[in-house]
Chain length 400, copies 2
């Protein structure tokens, strides 16, 4: 049989992280690799009540085909939560998606022609990179510091890429770095986007999970031109398994998103939408999120303390105020894929940084997740990692 695949089939590979996750399913493994929420915090009992209530009152409708736009009470609940963080939206500006991964994919589908340019943080979320690659996009990476994407570097890239389609940014507790874009940069990004007539895709799955510092308004809060497409999800504040996310954008965009979502999966799971809405009607999701924050804060603090204690001193790392990740930068000569292999031998899983760079540069970085391990596992895992790092970095010094 001759090769039938589309050209794009050679561009997109099964995500490295997800392949790593398979290895990490062994029970003896301490995994800092995934981006999994703590499953022991999922409101299982409450969901059982919600399922029963939905099936009792609304059984057939909850299992039938439903509108592409999504279940209205769920969209209204989202509008209420968005209002609390400074985004005023109405019903026609909200589309329910099958996780925020679908929101990213549909964004590529709606905006990207072959060879189009996306401006993004360096590094950035690897599953977004893969999704945009499906539409044959090019990536222009903008340097970050501890306060997120750097605005002078962004302006330079906007000048050099006047046809760029959008800036893709994760301003809150960025994946993979855990960094947050500071306030004045948010305002500046909007100014620059307007000046250079480019859209902003604000991917915000983690913003609600802030466990220290002061909350910052989303970039969309400053948007007066309908230039910001805001993506978020229930994955980090409720459960990821139900695959529910949303897009908040101007109606002119949402209308087109709806047409493309029809081609992708007709609509998101009707039952998942109704039980999530029912949960928010019956229970206090904000109180639930407070519980998540308390646990993640403790785990993050434990990991940072252990890193400080066990890692060599010439390693730098981010100190997140929320979200799920810590980013580690090793000395420039160290290849983190070696560290990854050595850690695996010691039953510790991490993610090497390289796939987070769309153009595949910086090899000396790695990502650690703290949301899905106990304090004891974090202590033991970071200790073992520290031993690997001391050993490998010593080798580096002696050989180089």
């Amino acid at each position: 049989m001759r090769n039938k695949f589309a050209k794009r089939a050679s561009l997109v590979k099964s995500s490295e992280t997800r392949e790593i996750l398979k290895v990490t399913e062994r029970p003896e493994m301490i995994s800092f690799a995934g981006g999994l929420p703590a499953p022991e915090l999922f409101p299982v009992e409450e969901l059982n009540v919600a399922c029963e209530a939905v099936l009792k009152v609304d059984g057939p409708a909850s299992l039938q085909y439903s509108t592409t736009e999504g279940y209205i009470p769920l969209r209204n609940a989202i509008i209420k939560r968005m209002d609390a963080i400074g985004i005023q939206a109405h019903l026609q500006q909200i589309l329910i998606t099958s996780g925020s991964q679908q929101a990213i994919d549909l964004t590529g589908r709606l905006f990207l022609d072959e060879g189009d340019t996306i401006i993004c943080e360096s590094p950035t979320y690897l599953a977004a990179v893969n999704a945009f690659k499906v539409y044959n996009a090019n990536f222009v990476e903008v340097e970050m510091d501890e306060d997120g994407m750097m605005m002078e570097a962004l302006e330079k890239q906007l000048q050099e890429n006047p046809q760029a389609k959008f800036i893709y940014t994760i301003p809150d507790f960025h994946n993979p770095t855990g960094r947050t874009l500071k306030l004045e940069r948010r305002k500046r990004m909007i100014e620059l986007a307007s000046q250079y007539d480019v859209l902003i895709v604000e991917d915000n799955p983690y913003g609600a999970v802030r466990f220290s510092g002061t909350a910052l308004p989303p970039i969309k809060h400053f948007d007066t031109e309908g230039r910001v497409i805001y993506l978020s999800t229930f994955s980090k504040i409720f459960t990821p398994g139900l695959r529910l996310g949303w897009i908040c954008a101007d109606e002119v965009f949402i209308e087109k998103y709806v047409a493309f979502k029809q081609t992708a999966d007709l609509h998101s799971d009707s039952f998942a939408q109704r039980i999530t809405a029912k949960y928010m009607e019956l229970y206090d999701i904000e109180a639930h999120i407070e519980k998540i924050k308390a646990v993640y804060k403790e785990r993050c603090t434990t990991m940072l303390t252990c890193i400080d204690q066990f890692f060599p001193k010439n390693i730098s790392y981010s100190k997140p105020d929320g979200g799920l990740f810590i980013w580690v930068e090793l000395p420039a000569s160290v290849d983190s894929s070696k560290i990854f292999v050595e850690c695996l031998k010691n039953n510790v899983a991490i993610v090497p940084g390289i796939p987070f760079f769309p153009n595949g540069t910086q090899k000396n970085t790695l990502r650690l997740n703290y949301s899905n391990t106990t304090k004891e596992q974090i202590r033991e895992g970071i200790k073992r990692m520290g031993e690997v790092l001391h050993h490998e970095l010593k080798k580096e010094t002696t050989t180089s």
Copy 2:
């Protein structure tokens, strides 16, 4: 703001059928428009038991991120059902999708480059047309008769389009025509596909809902080269709201499908997969399907009898042995969109045939659905439609 949309944004419009469905939500409307299963048959009570069982035994895991390939017990249950219809598959040949719509979309993503050609029935499933348009495909339509796609016409198109990527076919109770591809044509299609080295995408959402005649083996049953990609769904035999479908194909294809599904939505709803598997473990889905068949048979028979009684005699229509649809062909001079408008005035909704023709020819056709209306509604609706048709066809005769 300058226009940012991708070129494909102008090709894909919100599905006409789904837009019509919105109008038909008015309670006084008798709708033959959608393709909705009968919601009163959904096993609501049983699903409640399944939800409780899953949450009790497996709560956190059922709400967590899960593998892209899908929940293994669900894939095993699918393998068992496939075996019963003559397809032997193993685990690595099954991918769970978010409804079979996603299976269609991923098929476009995996195989179609801009300008690629798909060979399909004329007419064909309109949401597949829209999904393939996303990847800028061209459509070559092959004539059908009462026994499905005509093989001489297919061979002619294969000769004229040697670079065609695949044949997209709905062999059982075809949407929109309700027709079934006869046995010798199934064998011939495989022969032709092999001879002209083209893939077959066998879309089979309705095959399990056969209420008369003898079951035919799927085209994939005759596939010795891994040339057939088989798509199916739980939407018509269980519930469409949970959005669960599957792809059965050779591993070399499934591996790539998995990578592309990761970009689309990471994985399908974990909870929906588990409750569906649990339902099949606790209950007899075959007995449930028998109930569906009995009801659909009665509704289909009622509709056919009423058409015979109330429609003008110069109208032809299909007589399906299963599935959800009857296809009506009016005299060549009649535009079914006029009939659609007149029927709506009489609170009867139908779907004009034109969007089912990818290249937009034949205007004198329309599709009727019988699965989601009672016998009384069918009788009343077809009677009203008959009056409209008599009136409109009479006008045609007098004016032309």
